[in-house]
């Protein structure tokens, strides 16, 4: 560090000033408006790196909260938190960083507003037997229209829904998902596997005539 600065000042000031003088000049000129300048700088960086992820943030919030107006509240709260913590952002995937905050904001909001979300136990046995009886389903699945797929995902338990959304819609890697959802990396794949299995059963059940 020191060597670099003195080298630079030697070139710039032809040896008239020492490295210490140089540093004092920089600090001196900055100290008066430093807070404002720093704050503006932070805002500019925030708007550049975090604001563009609004659709990603809204998509996650929308799938978690299940409706538009709650999702908007969650996103706004998340952005304010993100701005507050922005100094702690160490680079890396800014979208994943924001999504982690969105997720936390959602769960906090959930606690305040709804209590815990009702958890309907998923009847795996029922869906499994249905599966077997109905035979090959690959073609059938491809007929599923948007609305059916939407409904099926929406009816998944939230811990599977969020992992599926992070993987299939936000396209995050397993490592990023484990950081966003705060679960061990080894759990990501098994939860995805179970989530997909449940989703498939739900879709098939809605596609087959009763």
């Amino acid at each position: 560090m020191t060597r670099e600065v003195s080298h630079e000042s030697a070139i710039l000031y032809c040896g008239n000033k020492t490295a210490q003088d140089e540093v004092r000049i920089i600090n001196g000129s900055k100290s008066q408006n430093a807070p404002l300048v720093e704050e503006q700088d932070k805002l500019a960086r925030f708007e550049q790196s975090i604001m563009p992820h609004m659709n990603a943030a809204y998509t996650l919030a929308r799938w978690l909260a299940s409706n538009d107006s709650d999702a908007q509240d969650v996103v706004q709260e998340a952005y304010l938190r993100a701005f507050k913590f922005f100094a702690g952002f160490r680079g890396g995937n800014s979208r994943a960083w924001l999504l982690r905050i969105v997720r936390n904001a959602f769960y906090d909001w959930l606690k305040q507003n709804r209590g815990e979300e009702r958890k309907e136990p998923f009847d795996e046995e029922l869906h499994d037997t249905m599966d077997e009886r109905r035979g090959p389903d690959t073609l059938l699945l491809e007929k599923a229209d948007h609305e059916l797929v939407r409904k099926a995902i929406a009816s998944l338990p939230v811990e599977f829904r969020e992992i599926l959304v992070l993987r299939e819609l936000e396209d995050l890697s397993y490592k990023e998902i484990s950081e966003v959802a705060n679960i061990p990396p080894g759990t990501v794949m098994s939860r995805l596997a179970r989530g997909r299995e449940q989703l498939r059963s739900l879709l098939l059940a809605s596609l087959q005539p009763k």
Binding site: M51, F83, A144, L203
Partner: protein
Amino acid sequence: MNCNETKEIIHGYLDGEVDPVRSMAIEQHLKDCPACAAAHRKQQSLRTAIAQGSLYFNAPKGLEKRVRSAVRQASKAEGRKEGGRQRWNWNWRAILSPLAATALLLLIALPILNRHSADDQLAREIVAAHVRSLMTDTSHLTDVASSDQHTVKPWFTGKLNFSPPVTDLASQGFPLLGGRLDYIEEHPVAALVYQRRKHFINLFIWPEKSGSSGELRTPQGYNVIHSNHDGMTYWAISDVNSGDLREFLKLAQADPHQK
């Protein structure tokens, strides 16, 4: 790769989270096993259904405007608060010098850490070469197919700048199948192929003395043993059990004239 192993990591495979060596092993297994291939197709059709569902939302127009102004408001408030307070004149060097010290420490430690990862890297190359040699029937396995050591050994002459020791170990239960050229750590090396019952063993040999001996079991289920002998470095890899592989390497390194 068997059905259970495939079933366990098929989702990682679908998501592109499996390393190339295991990916290849899965692809091979999907070719061979109709049940696993059907399970794989099922998962693919589900992904297609999700992809066609246009499930991604665009943020409503008003939201971005609202968020932007809320953040600016927060930023202004923060600026006023900071401005009113007497600020310390940050001495950035005092903050940065621990960072510089850490960086220096890393600079010193990295070569040491790297030595380990270099071995890891080499082991990965060995696994990849082994898997490659066994892919799609066994046509990649040998360039010269012969159980006669007096055919295999001269075959390497002129192709390598060293002469690998070649011994047929059929009488000890490891018949020689042949040899081929391979490419490890940016050098052409000798690869000898042996068989143990239904299993294949690749033995990579090149002149070098560095690196410590050792053995490991890779996550893919291969046993790998490395040791140096007589100015050559030996890497044996196979899915036979580690006891057999150890015995094999000992036999391969024994001086043929003393047997």
